[in-house]
Each structure stands twice: as structure tokens, then as C-alpha cells.
Amino acid sequence: DQQVKQNSPSLSVQEGRISILNCDYTNSMFDYFLWYKKYPAEGPTFLISISSIKDKNEDGRFTVFLNKSAKHLSLHIVPSQPGDSAVYFCAARRGSARQLTFGSGTQLTVLP
């Protein structure tokens, strides 16, 4: 049972345009959501997060939106840069649980 789903395995975007990465979840008990970025042969790096009490969190070029009623979150990258090309994972945490539940990832390719 995949509780966190990233239905798009890949996304290509032109440099300078907006990248939108989507993530859906099924467990209504999740109350904290995170995005990680991963380059090949490296560990994921934390990018941005959002609590379920908010619907938007912004950090520079990165904005995460949360729609609790739809159980959907998205990561917007504006403007996209070639260095943003990586696999992006969304993750969710339930209450006091110590572990995160990860999606399967989306490979973003930013074309110069």
C-alpha cells in the first residue's frame, strides 16, 4: 500500500520556466511533508517542508503548496535551472512517528 505517490516518474522543463512536481497521499494522519532532492550516487538532500497547518511555504525559488482536502502537495521551482536536474522525492510524517514515508520520486530534467 503506497501511502505517498508521485505518479510522474519524469518531467522535462525548459530553463527559466516553472517546474511543478506533484505528490499525492492517502493517509489523512500525515501532518508534515518534506521534499528532498537527489543527485545520482549521492544521498538525498532536504529541500523544503510544510506543516499541515499551512497551505504554502516559500524558500527562494522553491515553493511548496499543500491542499489537504485533495491530499495533494506540489513543489514549484521558479525559474528552473539546469542544476535543478535531479530526482525529487516527497515524504510525509504522521504525528509523533519517527519515520518518514517516501514517494517513488520524479526525475526532473531542466533543458538549457
Binding site: L34, G43, P44, F46, R98, Q99
Partner: protein, 115 residues
């Protein structure tokens, strides 16, 4: 600042051989520690997590085991590797004491190929 180390970076082992992967964290005390595996083309699967020395929780039953002999050391082991154990193994930590209790920070990973 906190750093996390994993070794080896790459490993090629025959089926049936033992495995020991090590992870250490510096710059923090009593971290939560995690082992994940990323199989080819798949997401991150949590294997084990530990909230303290000698305390291990297993998420997925398999032929792997984990141990935490010291506060900042986490070891992933197997007595006999299977072909299906191939993958990219990641260690991560999180720190409850500073309030950064949601983010997990990952090590560089170990690429394991079982032949």
C-alpha cells in the same frame, strides 16, 4: 555542524557472502538513525530505525539486520546476501533535541551489487 559518514561507497559481493555497512554521525548526540534502500528505479524504502543504543525497529522483514553499538554508530548487516539485496543503501539521522525533529539528513550512500 553535523556530518554523516557511510562506508564503503561501493561494494560488490557474491551471493551468500556476509555484509557489513557502517554509518557514523558527528556533531550531535542521541540522534535517531535510519537505514533506507533504494532499489533500481524505485523510491526509498525504510529498512530499520533506531532511537538509541541497542534499540532497533525493523520495518521490512528480510535477511538484513541492524545494530547500534554506540550512540552515533549504525551498522547494517547480513549473514548471507541475496541477489535481491542489490541497491543503494542510505543512512540518515534526525535530531529531536534541537527541535529539528522532522527533517532527516542523509549520508552519501553505499552502492551494493550482489553478483
Amino acid at each position: 555542524s553535523q556530518t554523516i559518514h557511510q562506508w564503503p561507497a561501493t561494494l560488490v559481493q557474491p551471493v551468500g557472502s556476509p555484509l557489513s555497512l557502517e554509518c557514523t554521525v558527528e556533531g550531535t548526540s542521541n540522534p535517531n538513525l535510519y537505514w533506507y534502500r533504494q532499489a533500481a528505479g524505485r523510491g526509498l524504502q525504510l529498512l530499520f530505525y533506531s532511537v538509541g543504543i541497542g534499540q532497533i525497529s525493523s520495518e521490512v522483514p528480510q535477511n538484513l539486520s541492524a545494530s547500534r553499538p554506540q550512540d552515533r554508530q549504525f551498522i547494517l548487516s547480513s549473514k548471507k546476501l541475496l541477489l535481491s539485496d542489490s541497491g543503494f543503501y542510505l543512512c540518515a539521522w534526525s535530531d529531536l533535541s534541537t527541535g529539528y525533529n522532522y527533517e532527516q539528513y542523509f549520508g552519501p550512500g553505499t552502492r551494493l551489487t550482489v553478483t
